[in-house]
Amino acid sequence: MNSLSVYLIIAAALFSLGLFGVLMRRNLIGMLISIELMLNGANLNFMAFNRFLAPEPAVGQIVALFVMGIAAAEAAIGLSLILALFRRLRSINIERAQRLRG
C-alpha cells in the first residue's frame, strides 16, 4: 500500500470524478465543488511525487499550499460571481447563463 502508483491512481480517480462533475452538473455550486475535487486530485499528485521522488522534500508541500490558496481565492471569486448571477437570473442553473449576450 505504500507505492507511488497507488497514490497516482487515487489522484487520477479524484481528478476524473471532478472532471465528470464539471461536465455534467448544471448547478454552478456543484461545478465549483467539482473543481475543488480536481484541484485536490492535483494536490495529491504533488504530494505523492514529493514524497517518493523529489530530492528536496519541502517543494511539493509548498506547491500544495499555493494550490489551496488559489483554490480559496477562486472559491471566493466564483461564489461572488454566482451570487451576482443569481441576483440577475433568480437561478444558478448554468443553462440559464446562455442568455448572457454582448
Binding site: 472532471l19 461536465l23 455534467m24 448554468i94 443553462e95 446562455q98
Partner: protein, 639 residues
C-alpha cells in the same frame, strides 16, 4: 529548308504532302467568297501534285529499293517514332492512282458543282481529302499512317455530308464517320499491340521482322487481326458495310473519289502495305479471306435489286473490295493491288458517267434516266458501258485482267469453295452491272412520259459544263481500255527484283497450264452469261424489265433491305446501348455522381450543425471538446 534544292525527289514528295493542305488553308481562310479563285487554287495544287507524282514515279521506277526520308518526331526513351516519306513501288503506284483520280475528279467537279453555293467549301474539302490520302500513302510508319487515315475519314465525313442542310446527307456523313471509327478503334489497338510487342512502327521493319519471324506469332496474329478491323471499317467489309451505300448522299464526284482512290481504297491499301506482316499470320489471313468472301457475295446480291444508279455502283464497290481482300488474304499480293488499280480507273469512270446522267436528269433512278432519254448522251453512255464491261470482266477491258488474276489466285488456294464464290461473284457482277446499262439503253415508255427532261436535255448537252465533265470520263475510259495490257509490266514493276517477292506469288506465276485456260474460259463465259442473262431480262424487246428476283418477293426484300443488317444494328444498338450501357450510366449518374455530391452536401450541413452546436454558449460543451482534444493529444504522444 536549305536542303530543298539539292534533292528533287524529296522536293516532289514534300510537294505532295503539303501543297493540297496549303490550298485548303488558303481557300478556307482567304478565298471562300470567290468560288472561281478557290477552284483555280485547288485544281492547280492538284495538278502540281500530279506532276510531282509522275516525276517521282518516273525517277524511282527502277530504284532497287525503297527511298525513305525520316525525321524523328516523337522521342520517348529508346523509342523514336519518325515522320517522313516512304517511297517504294506500292506507295508510288498508289500515289499515282490517287493523284490521277483526284485530278480528274476535281476537273470534273468544275462542271458538276457549277453554281453550287458551297463551291469553295467543296474544293477546300477536296484538297483536304487529297492531302490526307497522299500523305497517308507515303507514310513510313503506322502512326503517321493512322493519323492521315483518320484525316481521310474526316474529309469523307465532310464531303458525304456536304449537303448538310439535307437531313439524310448529314445522317449519312455521321453514319460513315461512326462506323468507320468502330473499325479504327481496332486498328489503333492493333498499332498499340505491335508497339508493345515489337517496339517499332516502321512499316518496313514490321514487315521484315514478321517475315523473319522476329515477332512473337501471337503478337503478329493479334496485331494483324486488330489492324484488319480498320480495313473492315474503311473498306466497308462485312459487318461494317452499310455505311457505304448511304454515303451516296454526297455529290457524285465525291462518290467517285471515295470509291476509287481514297477512302475505301485506303483499307485495301493498308492491307497490301503491311502484306508481309499479314502473311506471317495464317490465322489472320484465313479470317480476312472469309470476311472478304462474305462481303463480296452479300454486296453483289444487294446490287441486283436496287434501282438507284449510284447505289448499284456503291454495292459493286463493296463487292469488288471484297474481291481485293480475298485476293490479298489468299496470298495474291499482286492480284489484289492490280485489281485495286484497275478498279480505281473504271469505278471512277462509272461514277463520273453516272454523275453526268444525274446532273442532266436530276434523278438517281435508273428507270427514270432511261425514260428521260439517257441513251442520247452518247459520250457518257459509251464511257459507262466501257466501265461496266470492265467491271463485268469482259475482255479486253482492264477489269478482265485483274479479276482473272484474282480468280487465278483463288484457284491456287487449297480450299476451292473460295474459287466457287469468286466465280459466282463474277457472274453476279456481270448481271447487275448490265442490268443498269440495259435499263438506260432500252427504256420502256413510262405512263406519264417525261417531256420536261427532253427540254432540259437539249439545252445543256453540248455546253461548256458538259465537256468539262465529259473529258475526264473519256480519259478514264481510255485508261480502262488500255490498263489491262500493262499487267506484266505492272507485275514486274510491283514485285520488282526481290523487293516484295516471296513465296506467296506462286499461283500467279505457275498458273499458265491447261487449268489456267479452263478457268479463263469459265470466268469469261460466266461474265458473258451474266450479261446475256441481263439482256434477256432487261434489254430484249419483249423483256419484262423485271428481274428473276421479283418472283421471290421475300428474297428481293431481303436483298433490298441489305439483309436487314441496318435493322439488326438498330436492334442491337437499342438493346446494347439504350438498355445496357445507358442503364449502367444512369445508375452511375444517380448513385455515384449525384450521390457523391449529395453526400458532400450532407456532410457540409452536418458539419455546420456540429460547429454551431459549439457556438451555443454552453460552457460545458466547450469543455467537453477541450477534454476530448487533450485525450487525443495524450493518445498521440503516449502511443
Amino acid at each position: 529548308m536549305m536542303w530543298l534544292p539539292h534533292d528533287s525527289v524529296l522536293t516532289a514528295a514534300l510537294t505532295c504532302a503539303t501543297l493540297p493542305f496549303l490550298s485548303m488553308a488558303v481557300i478556307l481562310i482567304f478565298t471562300r467568297a470567290y468560288p472561281r479563285v478557290s477552284c483555280a487554287i485547288s485544281v492547280s495544287a492538284i495538278t502540281v501534285c500530279l506532276g510531282s507524282t509522275l516525276y517521282l514515279l518516273l525517277t524511282l521506277r527502277h530504284a532497287p529499293e525503297a527511298v525513305e526520308y525520316q525525321w524523328a518526331w516523337i522521342i520517348s526513351g529508346d523509342m523514336v517514332i519518325p515522320f517522313g516519306f516512304l517511297l517504294d513501288r506500292l506507295s508510288l503506284l498508289m500515289l499515282t492512282i490517287v493523284a490521277v483520280i483526284s485530278f480528274l475528279v476535281q476537273v470534273y467537279s468544275i462542271g458538276y458543282m457549277h453554281g453550287d453555293p458551297g463551291f469553295s467549301r467543296y474544293y477546300a474539302f477536296q484538297s483536304l481529302f487529297a492531302w490526307a490520302m497522299m500523305t497517308m500513302v507515303i507514310a513510313p510508319g503506322m502512326l503517321q499512317l493512322y493519323i492521315f487515315w483518320e484525316l481521310v475519314g474526316l474529309a469523307s465525313y465532310l464531303l458525304i455530308g456536304y449537303y448538310y442542310e439535307k437531313w439524310s446527307a448529314s445522317q449519312a456523313g455521321k453514319k460513315a464517320f461512326v462506323m468507320t471509327r468502330l473499325g479504327d478503334i481496332g486498328f489503333f489497338l492493333g498499332i498499340i499491340t505491335v508497339l508493345l510487342g515489337f517496339g517499332d512502327l516502321g512499316i518496313q521493319h514490321m514487315n521484315a521482322a514478321a517475315q523473319a519471324g522476329d515477332i512473337h506469332p501471337w503478337v503478329v496474329t493479334l496485331g494483324a487481326l486488330l489492324i484488319f478491323c480498320g480495313v473492315v471499317g474503311k473498306s466497308a467489309q462485312f459487318p461494317l458495310l452499310t455505311w457505304l451505300p448511304d454515303a451516296m448522299e454526297g455529290p457524285t464526284p465525291v462518290s467517285a473519289l471515295l470509291h476509287s482512290a481514297t477512302m475505301v481504297a485506303a483499307g485495301v491499301y493498308l492491307m497490301s502495305r503491311i502484306f508481309p506482316f499479314f502473311a506471317a499470320s495464317p490465322d489472320a489471313m484465313a479470317v480476312a479471306l472469309i470476311i472478304g468472301t462474305i462481303t463480296m457475295l452479300l454486296a453483289s446480291t444487294m446490287a441486283m435489286v436496287t434501282y438507284d444508279i449510284k447505289q448499284v455502283w456503291a454495292y459493286s464497290t463493296v463487292s469488288q473490295l471484297g474481291f481485293m481482300v480475298m485476293s490479298l488474304a489468299a496470298g495474291g499480293y499482286f492480284a489484289g493491288v492490280f485489281h485495286l488499280t484497275t478498279h480505281a480507273g473504271f469505278k471512277a469512270l462509272l461514277f463520273l458517267c453516272s454523275g453526268i446522267f444525274i446532273h442532266e436528269y436530276h434523278t438517281n433512278d435508273m428507270r427514270e434516266i432511261g425514260q428521260g432519254g439517257g441513251r442520247k448522251l452518247t459520250i457518257p453512255m459509251i464511257c459507262m458501258t466501257v466501265g461496266a464491261l470492265a467491271l463485268a470482266g469482259i475482255f479486253p477491258f482492264s477489269g478482265f485482267f485483274s479479276k482473272e488474276a484474282i480468280l487465278g489466285v483463288l484457284a491456287g488456294y487449297p480450299n476451292k469453295i473460295y474459287l466457287g464464290a469468286g466465280l459466282l461473284g463474277a457472274l453476279m457482277t456481270a448481271y447487275y452491272s448490265f442490268r443498269l446499262i440495259f435499263f438506260i439503253l432500252f427504256p420502256r415508255p413510262s405512263a406519264e412520259g417525261a417531256p420536261h427532261h427532253e427540254d432540259h436535255h437539249s439545252g445543256g448537252h453540248h455546253g461548256h459544263v458538259f465537256w468539262t465533265m465529259a473529258w475526264p470520263c473519256m480519259i478514264l475510259a481510255t485508261i480502262t481500255l488500255g490498263l489491262g495490257f500493262f499487267q506484266n509490266e505492272l507485275q514486274g514493276y510491283l514485285l520488282g527484283h526481290g523487293a516484295v517477292a516471296h513465296g506467296h506469288e506462286a499461283p500467279e506465276h505457275g498458273g499458265h497450264g491447261l487449268g489456267h485456260y479452263l478457268l479463263l474460259i469459265t470466268a469469261v463465259s460466266l461474265a458473258v452469261g451474266g450479261v446475256f442473262f441481263a439482256y434477256l431480262e432487261f434489254g430484249w424487246k419483249k423483256a419484262s424489265q423485271k428481274g428473276f428476283l421479283s418472283k421471290f418477293p421475300a428474297v428481293e426484300a431481303l436483298f433490298a433491305n441489305r439483309w436487314y443488317m441496318d435493322h439488326f444494328y438498330r436492334k442491337a444498338l437499342d438493346l446494347l446501348v439504350y438498355c445496357g450501357f445507358t442503364n449502367i450510366f444512369t445508375r452511375n449518374d444517380r448513385r455515384v455522381i449525384d450521390g457523391g455530391i449529395d453526400g458532400i452536401c450532407r456532410f457540409t450541413v452536418g458539419g455546420g450543425r456540429a460547429v454551431s452546436f459549439l457556438q451555443s454558449g454552453m460552457l460545458q460543451y466547450n469543455l467537453v471538446l477541450m477534454v476530448a482534444a487533450i485525450g487525443v493529444l495524450v493518445l498521440v504522444f503516449a502511443l
